[in-house]
Amino acid sequence: MSTPTPIVPEHFKQLVGERIHDDALRGNIRRATRTSLEKRLAVISDYDDWEELRSLGYDIKRHVIDHLPYYLKKFEHAAAAAGAVVHFATDAAEAREIVHGLAVQRGGPVIVKSKSMTTEEIGLTHALEDAGIRTVETDLGEYIVQLAKEPPSHITAPALHKSRGEIGRLFADTLGIEYTDDPEELTAIARRLLREDFLAADVGISGVNFAIAESGTLCIVENEGNVRLSTGLPKTHIAVMGMEKLLPDMESLGLFLNLLGRSATGQRLTCYTSLITGPRRPHERDGPDEVHIVILDNGRSRMMRDPHLREALFCIRCGACMNVCPVYQSIGGHGYGSVYSGPIGSIITPVFYGEKRSRALPFASSLCGACAEICPVKIDIHHHLLWWRKSMVGSGDAPRSERLMMRIFLAVSRRPALFDLAGRIARLFTPLFRDGDGGISVPVWRGSRSFPAPPKKSFKQLWRHHEQRS
């Protein structure tokens, strides 16, 4: 699995500590996310009813999730009728086994893989490599992080944290080529190397962006053409998808392609949109001989039943909430220690990896709500984070000192006279902690900020004078 270390507060602090003072990293992330946001803003202005499109996206997703068993059945039948084989996996291990079994039977020197967060979620590439099956990521960003032996740091732009120079150095070091930081050259090098693998592979693995229940069609979007090759060239195509990926029909796909492309990369439409309905038919010239679709649950049924988690199933993995998140911009995707980072990652990671193992994540937010504001399917992300916090505190996952403080805070705040008295006492003692810049030193603010020195009188005291005067 990809989270060997539980993301508890101590570990999270360490992850943050390793990154927060890395100005180069922060610069890379800021530049990349800002570019995406600017492009997004430019293309959503095509519509004067973008907000309504978001609402429609929300409504369709809600409808599908409300009737998920129905749409799953419908999809399964349609896909089977088109000649695809549908597998259901309840958890990550089962999904890995299914894919591994299929891959072993079909052999071949290499598996080509196109970008997919769901396969990251189940740790598929690692599992296949551990089983001795060479598995190559063919999306350029994924290819880069695979060379660097890192997980992706963003759900749509896996190598977003790296600068051109860093990628150039990585290529030079791992591929034994001469250093260049020219993106075109680097892309050409990757393409040349990947071409050999594409031609040799018997199995191609992909994710899925949308699955059309009505026709059993898989829709995958991309910009590099590598999805086309991974899914069309090898004899066998295995698609792995979370069960929430369903859409009712082609008509709704039109809306979602707009929401996804514009929100993710600021594109009106991505360069390639593949629609795959079953394997190659006898009269068709190319395409795979078999198509396997692995539909993954892995906690999604639980989310479906839980009113506070259900909305997270609407996510179309556009990554806009990461781009706009000031916490993400400060620590990057790897700072979260989870496959799914950023605001949405902090909601779904506890489902996939367990609450205790992810208990730092829902607290890693200032709750500014920029995520919910940008989300193309209007997920109330920051409110769901609040709910996770409550749930985790409720199940005893909070430090004792914090519990005690909250109890004292309540005891004092419920009694107005005590509240006033506490304030007076605090005011009496704070001059002892004065620091040079007129405030008081509060150690928890880490020295970066000065805390205001309390005034002589509280509002209540001032109000009394005011009342007496008038």
């Binding site: 507060p9 922060r26 000031p326 709750l367 920029a370 609040l386 409720g394 419920r414 020295g447």
Partner: protein, 251 residues
């Protein structure tokens, strides 16, 4: 100027704990402005905290008790509106005293009634009282930081700007990314001091680029966070709650 008001509106003050304890002058300045525009202001001294700090940290039981205390005080206080110098605390009552806090049934009803009457200060002036010019004078270059709760939960964006534009001598300048969070986030600023500081650094950089001498906003909490770094770094920019500016009169 203010003789156009015909009816006396009665406002009950909602003074957040932070204002009461750390920024009492801001509370008083809000009172001055409200009285200047002809509002009758009352204040119930039993109020303490709306429960937001506990709520945001996940302590809903503690928060619920404080919410009930709050609702007991404000429900049936006879005022038409409840006005707070804070978008964040107004949000706590109008948004979070809803489903998330799961109040007992009788308090749900109270919350429903109270919620209707709660307004953030600038929104009260502009949207309820339809006042734009409160007769203030303040000579300075001023920039506005949009506080997250006010902006995204209460849709307060133009209200403070409308009021500031009418202030004599005041030059309003916009900073870049005014809507970007300052990194405060209540206990977040303590639990994740490093991230909070990194976010604040960017906010302070935007403020510096704006060339403003004063940063204002509708929430003392964000301004306290911003001020903390401005002062620690000895930068020549001050923070002022918008009530403090609107209460200023020409010398």
């Amino acid at each position: 100027m203010s003789h156009t008001f015909v009816r006396i509106v009665h406002v009950s003050l909602f003074i957040p704990c932070l204002t009461d304890q750390l920024f009492p002058e801001t509370g008083m300045n809000m009172v001055r402005v409200l009285e200047r525009v002809g509002v009758r202001v009352t204040y119930d001294r039993r109020q303490t905290c709306c429960g937001q700090p506990a709520f945001n940290t996940g302590y809903h039981d503690e928060s619920r008790r404080l919410a009930m205390h709050f609702l007991d005080i404000f429900d049936g206080d006879g005022a038409e509106y409840i006005v707070a110098p804070s978008g964040s605390c107004a949000t706590m009552v109008t948004v979070f005293y809803g489903d998330l806090l799961s109040l007992p049934p009788e308090y749900r009803e109270k919350a429903g009634r109270v919620r209707e009457r709660v307004r953030e200060f600038t929104s009260f002036l502009v949207d309820v009282m339809h006042v734009e010019d409160v007769g203030a004078a303040f000579s300075s270059r001023v920039t506005v930081h949009d506080s997250c709760h006010a902006l995204r939960e209460l849709h307060i964006k133009q209200q403070p700007r409308t009021l500031l534009r009418a202030v004599r001598g005041l030059q309003l300048v916009e900073m870049d990314e005014a809507e970007r969070c300052c990194g405060f986030g209540g206990t977040f600023s303590v639990k994740h001091a490093d991230i909070s500081t990194a976010m604040l650094e960017e906010k302070v950089a935007s403020i510096e680029r704006s060339g403003a001498a004063v940063v204002t906003g509708v929430d003392s909490s964000c301004l306290m966070q911003i001020d903390g770094m401005l002062r620690r770094r000895g930068l020549p920019v001050r923070t002022m709650h918008i009530a403090d500016i609107l209460a200023s009169e020409a010398a």
